[in-house]
Amino acid sequence: MRTSAAPNRRPFDLGRAAYLGVNGLLLVFLLAPIAIVLVFALNPTPYISFPPVGVSLRWFDKFFSSPDFTNALALSLWVAACTLVLSVTIGGACALALVRGNLPGRAFLTPFFMSPLMLPAILTGLALFQAYLLAGIGRPVWGLILGHTVVAVPYVLRTTLAVLHNFDRRIEEAAAVLGASPTRVFFEVTLPLIRPGVFAGGVFAFIVSFDQFPVSLFLVVPKGETLPVVLFNYMKFDLDGAIAAASMVSILLALAVVLALERLIGLRAYVKL
């Protein structure tokens, strides 16, 4: 049982220092790869090389002047925006029904709607591809959006359910006692109170869709690919700064989203999800 660690009760706490040291290294492991992308996005050499020789925006220029990249970025943003709206509406409504609807079989329904998280996403993509193939509808953009919505709904569901479970129902009862109709209680009390959860879920939905690869893989058409698919195909043959610049664009978008998220409900709530 006794391993080679932590002698206790000493002025210099070796165990504590080791604990913090290990965790510090792990943080470096988590963050260094992202920092390195920034370095390569700004490094002007024509191939990935280290150490960097200077600072330039040529890769951002290449990214934004290539129609392949910008079209893909536009498509990804459009699909992510649609997915956000759809999954917030559908997932938010679903969460309310699960908690408030007194539905039979709730114990089964919640894991069912969460299951796209557990099942391999590449199979969701494959299954949709097969279904569209069989139905003979080709690979329309709305099919891609609905595929993304299926994998995004669980995120909205999770954040909204978390808020609903912490919800003090006496506030609603108070509103009702004071004479508000059920409809008014819903729109003026319930909805504002769960809004942070729904919004936070929507932020996740946007990111999940914007960075989505496995579901998109089989559902995009040539010349109509989303940004992650374009980047993946590019990376198979070329590994230059354009990918790093594209990555930076994605990371900055993610960062903006994290900040928006902190503004909306505070990050601490996320640990409880």
Binding site: M1, A5, A6, N8, Y19, L20, N23, L27, F29, P33, I34, I36, V37, I48, F50, T89, I90, A93, C94, A97, R100, G101, N102, L103, L109, F113, M118, P120, I122, T124, L126, A127, F129, Q130, A131, G136, L146, G147, T149, E172, E173, V177, D211, F213, P214, L217, F218, P228, F232, M235, S247, S250, I251, A254, V258, E262, L267, R268, Y270, V271
Partner: protein, 293 residues
Amino acid sequence: MTAVSIRRPSPIAWLIAPAALLFVLFFVLPFGVMAALSFFSANPISNPNAFLTTRHYERFIDDTAGIFHDALWATLRIGLVTTVVALLIGYPLAHWMARMHSRLGHALVLIAVIAPMLTGIVVRTFAWMTLLQDRGVINTLLLQWGLIGSPLPLMYNEFGTVVALVHIYVPFMVLTLTGVIGRIDERLEQAARSLGAGRVRTFLEVTLPLSLPGILAGSLLVFALSISAYVTPSLMGGTDVLTLPMLIAQQVSTSFNPSFAGALGVILLLVSLTIVVAYNRILARVSGEQGMA
């Protein structure tokens, strides 16, 4: 009056309809189609000569080319190693976060954990390619410092694949574990310490057993995610690594054999479902024992 009206089955139940419709049409039905197609020789709508067959599964089981079984084992092996490493890396971070009293420190670590999660699989795989390739950051530095004579084979093999997969999925482990460790009553640990147990013994005999449900939940999540990974093994693995998802993508895009891809999909699905069921059983048993104790 209000209490009664809230408890009655309410019209709010209808709000589930859009989600139910979406999931039936774009989730359940497609998986049914995939399973059904895997028993047809070809697309039964476009090809009137298509017939029912189990030959796609026989092809996998017979494995005359000797690649399918290897791909299945490689998938499971990479998933398992990734899970174990992610647990070893994720546990200290999760423990640190759960036990941190400073709000600011907690928020900063949380941002550090969530930020990589929000940067996309393709981007993070790219980052690891720039780090681990022959002319990448690590090999360049090691060569410059004279520690190695020739670049280490850090990429285009299972090692590189696992490193990148761990980085991509460890946040899921950390977030799952943090929740569970945070709910452990710290007074139990203090009691063990005051009764004379050392820090290590307290951890091994109190904290660790109590965080077992989190360990199982996090491990299952990471395993399920890493056996279905496609981007990372195909970019980091080079020609050395062939996993089930890569095989599926090959069958769809290169060989255009959606029926065989469907059969492979069903096999991967069965593996995933087995894990989910096993995990639920273990979790039920663990929480049951804790309830009795």
